[in-house]
């Protein structure tokens, strides 16, 4: 139990990457057309964080994993039907707006409030996990802000690996420029880790895990506290799809030799 950790994973829900997105502006600011009916998934990088958390907890007996997620209750329930079959966790839902346009500072405040209210959470043992960027806002700031609000000042972003040592310290690999990893050693918890892809494949669905999880997920969803997110002076001047459309030249009648010659000339390396 010496290395038991309490891992809180912050993960939003995002439109399935295969969906076509069309921004619209409503009375509450920008959003996506038909956002509530678009199929949703757990944010991909945050999902990596969840799988890494479960793996770390399994290797360190006495550890526990919570998943804190902010989104409309109905949408959270829909996504959890799948996510709950992957790994064991306790859900801490926050009933709030969906999408990437609300202010990240307000989102972080809501997350920090929910984490502070988790019964039995030992903040001295806390590893705050999440994706280093979301697939919605993609700002890469919410987790840092949440960490600051929880007074955690050892933070790592773009994490692909953590190795927890017997003495409670851990080594972290963070992505840096040029396809490299920075290696750091931290004396121990608490810490914030914003995950990139990590090293684990997505776990297969396990209905038995799902049944265990859903026993606590459904009551948690029913009790989810509502959150309104202040704009904090954030004003959108315009929101739209990129207009750039290229005139594509489709070349069907050249041999591989001719194409290669054209490409080499284009590259300018001949």
């Amino acid at each position: 139990m010496a290395n038991a950790v309490h891992i809180v994973v912050c993960a939003g829900i995002v439109p399935d990457p295969l969906q076509t997105l069309e921004p619209i502006t409503g009375p509450n600011g920008p959003g996506l057309k038909n956002e509530m009916v678009l199929p949703a998934v757990l944010d991909p990088w945050a999902a990596s964080a969840l799988y890494e958390a479960a793996s770390l907890a399994a290797k360190n007996p006495g550890s526990k994993v919570w998943l804190v997620s902010l989104g409309p209750k109905a949408k959270l329930q829909q996504v959890m039907m799948t996510v709950a079959q992957k790994v064991h966790f306790d859900l801490v839902p926050i009933d709030g707006p969906i999408g990437g346009f609300p202010d990240a500072h307000s989102t972080a405040a809501a997350l920090a409030g929910a984490i502070n209210a988790i019964p039995g959470l030992d903040k001295a043992k806390l590893l705050l996990f999440g994706g280093w960027e979301s697939a919605t806002r993609g700002a890469g700031v919410t987790l840092q802000l949440t960490g600051e609000l929880l007074s955690i000042t050892d933070q790592f972003q773009g994490v692909d690996q953590i190795d927890l040592r017997d003495d409670g310290s851990f080594e972290v690999l963070e992505r840096v420029e040029g396809g490299k990893h920075q290696v750091s050693v931290c004396a121990g918890t608490p810490a914030v880790l914003g995950w990139a892809t990590g090293n684990l494949a997505e776990p297969r669905n396990n209905p038995q895990v799902g049944m265990v999880n859903m026993r606590t997920i459904m009551p948690a969803l029913q009790k989810a506290k509502p959150a309104t997110l202040a704009a904090n002076g954030l004003r959108y001047v315009s929101v739209g799809l990129p207009k750039q459309q290229r005139t594509t030249r489709v070349v069907k009648d050249l041999t591989p030799d001719q194409i290669a010659a054209e490409l080499v000339e284009w590259i300018g390396a001949e």
Binding site: Q144, G178, Q182, T197, A201, V237
Partner: protein, 343 residues
């Protein structure tokens, strides 16, 4: 009046500002001139004086946090350094490069100063107020936003401004002292592929994008993953190109399917990968939205090799699409480039 601060840091040599930092300096000079704002440049480095000379001709006030503790990119020390620089400059708008070092701490520093932050800024405009352009939903939706609250931190994407280039000269730098809390984290090194195995080259002119088609059954009904790997690596060596990959190809590593052994998630571009900036892009064996729409957003000149003449994702996204077998074409390209047919 706005007080504009540009935060900069040094590269791995410890004595030169990073290119992204110099790009932020250019953005800061332009914005300060437009707003009639005062300009201060802050430097975080072990020895900031050595790096400051290149900024002499900016005419800006130069502040620095120096010392061995600031040689390491680390949250606790970098956040304290940036916070001290912002307070010393009484900054209302803070520009900084969106490097891994400042992306790690930018939000925390904004929070400590009671400010707000927006990141991945690709352009700064506006006449009455500062307006920042950034992308949402992984480069699918573009928005222009503004804030009245100050201080406002803006982290700039690399490659969106020209790097500042001034004649180096002796210059006065005001040192800002920082009281550091106990440091619990130590940077112990960098893991990097061997020089000849590095396939990610941010400064390359050309990005080669490899799709899952490379490891699918070919016309003879067989998979030729080894040959695909040779062709791709041969091309990277001969053309000095960087390698990007679709998610599906990288994911095959964990799915017991044929893989290209040199590919990792760091090569991945698109929804859950990087959005690199290169002058040219050549996509091969890609048949999805990820490489052509999301991952290529900032690639200027785009070509594709595809077997599918009806691939909807290349139409309107690539400048030229060659309908051909990428194995055959790339073997010929490598031969012309002197790569010995990719060996």
């Amino acid at each position: 009046m706005e007080n504009l601060l540009v935060l900069t840091h040094v590269d791995e040599t410890g004595s030169a500002l990073t290119k992204a930092s110099l790009e932020a300096v250019t953005a800061g000079r332009e914005l300060a001139a437009r707003l009639g704002a005062s300009l201060t440049i802050g430097i975080v480095a072990a020895d900031a004086a050595a790096a400051a000379g290149v900024l002499a001709s900016t005419g800006a006030r130069l502040l620095a946090v120096s010392g061995e503790a600031f040689a390491q990119p680390r949250y606790t020390s970098d956040a304290a350094a940036c916070e001290a620089l912002c307070r010393a400059a009484a900054a209302t708008i803070v520009l900084a490069p969106g490097s891994s070092r400042f992306s790690r701490v930018g939000a925390g520093v904004a929070h400590r100063l009671g400010g707000f932050i927006d990141t991945h800024i690709t352009a700064l405009g506006g006449t009455e107020a500062v307006e920042a352009t950034r992308w949402f939903y992984r480069q699918r939706v573009e928005a222009v936003l503004s804030r009245d609250a100050r201080p406002w931190f803006l982290l700039l994407d690399a490659g969106t401004h020209a790097a500042f280039a001034g004649e180096p000269a002796a210059v006065a730098v005001e040192q800002v002292s920082v009281e550091l809390p106990p440091l619990r984290t130590t940077v112990t090194g960098i893991h990097a592929p061997k020089q000849d195995a590095q396939t990610i080259r941010p400064n390359a002119k050309l990005l080669l994008v490899a799709g899952a088609g490379w490891t699918k059954k070919q016309a003879d009904g067989k998979i030729h993953a080894e040959e695909a790997g040779d062709l791709i690596l041969g091309f990277l060596r001969a053309a000095g190109a960087s390698l990007g990959s679709s998610k599906s190809l990288v994911d095959q590593r964990g799915e017991d399917q044929p893989v290209l052994p040199f590919l990792t998630h760091l090569n991945q571009i698109g929804q859950t990968g990087a959005t690199p900036r290169h002058a040219m892009g050549l996509s091969t064996c890609c048949h999805g939205e990820e490489p052509h729409v999301v991952g290529w957003r900032f690639i200027a000149d785009r070509r594709a090799i595809s077997l599918d003449p009806n691939c909807g994702w290349t139409r309107g996204k690539a400048d030229v699409v060659y309908i051909a077998d990428a194995f055959q074409v790339m073997a010929k390209v490598n031969a012309l480039l002197g790569a010995g047919a990719g060996k």
